[in-house]
């Protein structure tokens, strides 16, 4: 059996780059960083697009507006926190827990859409306008999610995610659910075709974007090694 002394090649590689490093802040602290950026980003995007509250706010019960938005925000924050936890070795979330959290985010958005439709028809979807309105709403959703997504993925890839695609997917889901919680106040449409295609679709699209970003990062890292 060989001894426990360090091989010369490893000693050389390590000693060439033995600069002191500062440990990463805890995952919850990094989640707070991401949330601060997300909140600032949301405020800027709302001001930039001059977004206003949906006109039928008074027809919707409090639990559906502020209540569901608060719950969606909590789910979004949990997803971002899970992504940042996943980014550190030895901290990976059980697959079942991660799947449950992602599914909760998506299902909640659909249920809020259905409940909103039951309370208010919103602005009617006229023939031939669906695509244009949908693109506009998706642009809002994407812009609202972007700061949280970029910050979360940056924090994820600064660490060493061993399952980068899973971390990316969780980050994408978190950013998307957070953005949708806010857009729920803004989008005047209640038609379920619009909600499911453009809003649920955007959540799934951002999750896919996070997953693909993780895959690309993993591929680059794998080929570097």
């Amino acid at each position: 059996m060989s001894s426990n002394s360090l091989p010369a090649s490893l000693r050389e590689a390590i000693s060439e780059d033995l600069t002191p490093v500062k440990p990463l802040p805890a995952w919850w602290m990094r989640t707070i960083y991401a949330l601060v950026v997300a909140a600032a980003g949301l405020a800027v995007i709302i001001a930039l697009f001059e977004l206003s509250l949906r006109p039928d706010m008074d027809q919707l019960p409090m639990w559906l507006t502020w209540g569901c938005t608060a719950v969606q925000l909590v789910v979004g924050v949990i997803l971002i926190g899970m992504a940042l936890r996943e980014a550190v070795p030895g901290n990976r979330a059980p697959t079942g827990t991660a799947s449950l959290a992602v599914a909760t985010g998506v299902v909640m958005q659909v249920l809020v859409g259905i409940a909103t439709r039951m309370h208010s028809p919103g602005v009617p979807l006229e023939k031939g306008t669906g695509f244009g309105i949908g693109i506009g709403c998706s642009a809002h959703d994407g812009a609202l999610a972007l700061p949280a997504l970029v910050m979360t993925l940056w924090l994820v890839f600064r660490a060493l995610p061993l399952r980068p695609s899973v971390a990316g997917l969780l980050g994408g889901a978190g950013a998307a659910v957070t953005a949708d919680a806010v857009n729920h106040f803004i989008c005047p449409m209640s038609d379920l075709r619009h909600v499911l295609v453009w809003h649920t679709g955007m959540i799934l699209g951002l999750m896919l974007l996070g997953w693909v970003t993780g895959k690309v990062w993993e591929w680059k890292r794998f080929n570097q090694d």
Binding site: M1, S2, N4, S5, L6, P7, S9, L10, R11, A13, I14, S15, D17, L18, T19, P20, V21, K22, P23, L24, P25, A26, A87, V88, P89, G90, N91, R92, A93, P94, T95, G96, T97, A159, L160, L162, R163, F222, D225
Partner: protein, 187 residues
Amino acid sequence: MKPDRQAEERRLTELMIGYQKGNMDDFEGLYAALKQPLLRYLWTFVRNATVAEDLLQDTFLQIHRARQTYSPPRPVRPWIYAITRHVALMHLRSGRRRKESLADDQLPEVPVLPEMEKLADRATLHRLLAELPRHSQEVLMLHHLLGMSFQEVGQILGIAAGTAKVRSHRAMKALRKELEDHDGGEA
């Protein structure tokens, strides 16, 4: 956690903190403390002592690149074993795996816990362990041979502590059955 395990974990944490501050002696201490158990763990994946030695070097290079992701006072071992597992899985994925069989005397030495020693001699245990499916081997190795808690095993494998416990129980049952068959065969 038993007192000696606590002391060992404290020592690893101190070494890791010193290493993060740029102390080469602490890195060497970490290497010396973890070399044998990591080799044994890597062997679970590759079944070849030479490849395991190569992967051990890759593991320590990855640990070096990721050293800022360790946050004291978290336990060091789940962090290191998760990186080790990743290096081994990446190796298997890369298609560079070699298929040489391994003689028993090539097995890296790791202490065997008394509860395992009661079952059979060390060589027989290692040989029968090698015949189990990899996920069973991994959980037995981490919990019974390397003495990690189910919480730590769960952190490394990305499963809940309860799931780790169930897997360990099933793997132990399978190992006992193999031992019975082995004893029956010898009788």
